[in-house]
Symmetry: C2
Subunit: 466 residues, 2 copies
């Protein structure tokens, strides 16, 4: 079986604290707790009501291990849907391991990562995408990541997926019906109606699939590379953004060799800033490794902050930018050290640049001075805009690569149906592709039977105790 | 005031986990929680019973922050004796700080370290030594440290202290009575009875005070220094004890320069092993700093494991040991590499050593081979014996330096009474000293008014949230 018997785990983080919570779930949770826990006062175990918190002694034989609070939850009215016991102990690592080992000696199994939530899924307390959202919720570090995770955990996402699946099911019924008739009498009006419905479905799946670009960077942080010639002020910009000395700054070109990375939350959105070695040919071995790494980091970035100063020529800038550009990149060109050049941005320079640059590159240019904190505000605003450009963030957001791939497969299947329809394929062939699309969408929430291996992979990414 | 209003803190350790607990205590705990928490199902806040755990939504305005469990505890039936709310959230650092900040915005104060337990003390839910034991309990890392802390938290220690204080109070009443009469008619029989009572009290306080030697090492771990000439196998012994490669071992004398420290629990007692640089004159600057540090570590140790091998002469050994010896030190002399010298310990050598050694030094000698794990068993047994020699561990154990100093002062006061009695001092003078002894004992459990500064010092050593 996938998960059976009674399990136990520490539910709170490791370490010393005022309180540590140990959680048990399964058929033996209550009876095994009775072996060790004696409630204080008049209450005997038989009088104990579910969801009622009791103070008492946790004893191993005659030895008092701790004074604890115990809260029993009677299945199915619990997180896992099974009988659950929460033991609130003093947060001493010694006590917590002692309490857990008492239960392990009684044959209770240590919970595997995500096993409590796996049971909640198996007992239909939540569907698969909701279960996945629990893990995202715990890991969320920004307002926007939290918003997406909690929307998903609350079932908003599942509802959207189910609606999509129902539309596909109806369409499948329709196509089977229409095309059965079409053998007798070709009806172009109905075929074009089918095509328009299909286009609508394709568009919806496309939108959802594309929202992954947004959902994924929100979950993991938007990767922003800072690049430019040596000594143009990249590390100074990083330090100014973080308002602390993260990178060593000096007037010596080649000061930064390692890649320095850290996250910053701007208006609820997390950005991962990557300061890189200055891009130049160098004889210094360590520095040249740094330069290669810098170029690699730019290929993974969503946003490139390219810094230059007044001394740079348009030709130089164009060649550098062209060599770094890739199609997922939003380029923000920054003229630094405007405090030294109070004239601000040079419009002639900018116009010349736009003319010579690869026309695919949408250019945003700003002037900053890392010595004037306010001068970073337009940059922060620009960063937020590049994120908004990634996707509509009002509707459903896909932030899980398993969901993304399911949608991608579903989209391909729908496209196959479209081609088939245009080529007058018989209905039974079209419905094979449609069935596939329906199954892929269903696999997101787990309404179709989900493979044990897939479940194992999903839940092993959880922390122990959840 | 020392502690007032409503306070809030995270009660579980920092970090991500399945569950994070936030605790509120004070008159506004319930009403402020109502602002954010809406229980699910039919239950309204007015129907909520104390000690009953409720599932519901924690919302900031329209924004759902988390699904949480809330358990209200109605004062005085709570940890602090005040109204207490425990909020069990998903263990996401983002959510936990968000929930706490909701309450801070409502004017709830962040709890200072130990403030929950301070309130429990101020509301007479526990006395001072019990409150201190809570902190010890959380920090306890071994069975014996846990046993002492839980005995103290359960009030066993307080009871012992109160009995002692009552004895002193009775004796004070007696001496005031007896010696008032003695001015009229000298009664030697009564005086000797007083003296015998006083001796009894002195002995009891002495025993308690001396138990600190045991209680303190149990709490902090018994410091065991490993010393000896270079390349005699000190690091090999450390590695064999820990059964892992803690220290770099080589055939080159002077391999260890830094002091390597780690704790090991042997049958419930924690030992702090300190591997030191080999003791020798050296030209290597870093090594010579290491040698000086090694000697310093030995002065702080309770047990010295002094290693030598067959090549060492008795004269050498005697001079080394004499130079390291101090009166708190238990010496265990270890002949290493017995696998290379299968003849075992040389009795002639041992006898000669005993004759020449400072007679104060009680010698325990063992032969080991770090290549034969079993050969360490006698050493472990010997280490446990040195701890048992530190004190009677059946009765009350003092493990807190504040209690130790209070007992020391009380003992001095009792000794003063004894001298005064022998010198026929009048009863009112004797009772001043007795009053002092009574106050010192009372300060341990806090039955006498305790200074705010003292309370501040005691509770500031707690973790936040307790």
């Amino acid at each position: 079986m996938l998960s059976e018997g009674t399990i136990i785990a520490l539910a709170t983080p490791q370490g010393s604290g005022a309180i540590g919570i140990i959680r048990l779930s399964g058929p033996q949770a209550f009876e095994k707790t009775k072996l060790f826990f004696k409630p204080k006062g008049a209450l005997a175990w038989d009088e104990i009501k579910p969801n009622q918190t009791l103070l008492g002694n946790f004893k191993m034989g005659a030895t008092l291990i701790d004074e604890v609070l115990v809260t029993p939850f009677k299945g199915p009215h619990s997180y896992t849907g099974e009988d659950v016991i929460e033991l609130s102990c003093h947060g001493s690592p010694y006590i917590l391991q002692k309490v857990i080992s008492c239960f392990l000696d009684e044959g209770i199994a240590p919970a595997k990562a995500g096993e409590f939530t796996l049971r909640a899924y198996l007992n239909k307390k939540m569907d698969l995408s909701q279960a996945e959202a629990v893990s995202d919720l715990i890991a969320s570090e920004s307002e926007e990541a939290h918003r997406i995770a909690i929307q998903q955990m609350r079932g908003g996402f599942s509802k959207g997926m189910e609606e999509l699946r129902q539309q596909l099911i109806q369409f499948k019924a329709l196509i089977e019906l229409e095309l059965d008739f079409s053998e007798e009498e070709v009806n172009f009006a109905d075929k074009s109606k089918l095509e328009s419905l299909l286009n609508q479905l394709e568009k919806e799946i496309h939108l959802l699939k594309d929202s992954f670009a947004y959902g994924n960077v929100i979950k993991k942080g938007v990767p922003v590379a800072i690049a430019g010639k040596p000594n143009v002020g990249k590390s100074s910009l990083l330090n100014a953004l973080f308002n602390e000395e993260k990178a060593i700054v000096s007037a010596i070109a080649g000061t930064t060799r390692d890649t320095i990375e850290d996250t910053l939350i701007i208006e609820g959105v997390q950005f991962r800033f990557i300061d890189t070695a200055g891009l130049r040919e160098t004889a210094d071995v360590i520095e040249s490794i740094g330069v290669a790494k810098a170029k690699e980091k730019v290929t993974q970035a969503r946003v490139l902050l390219y810094l230059y100063d007044k001394a740079t020529s348009v030709t130089e800038l164009v060649s550098e930018i062209d060599s770094l550009y890739h199609e997922n990149l939003n380029l923000i060109l920054i003229q630094n050290k405007t405090d030294l050049e109070p004239i601000g941005l040079d419009e002639t320079f900018k116009n010349e640049l736009i003319q010579k640059l690869n026309p695919k590159i949408k250019l945003v240019s700003l002037g900053i001075s890392t010595k004037v904190i306010d001068s970073l505000d337009p940059l922060k605003k620009q960063l937020l805009q590049t994120v908004q450009m990634l996707g509509n963030n009002d509707g459903l957001i896909v932030n899980n690569s398993r969901h993304f791939h399911a949608l991608k497969h579903a989209l391909q299947a729908v496209k196959n149906v479209k081609t088939g329809l245009q080529n007058n394929l018989p209905g039974d062939l079209l419905s094979i592709d449609l069935k596939e699309a329906i199954e892929h969408i269903g696999s997101i929430t787990g309404v179709i039977d989900t493979d044990h291996d897939v479940l194992g992979t999903i839940f092993s990414q959880f922390c122990i105790g959840k």
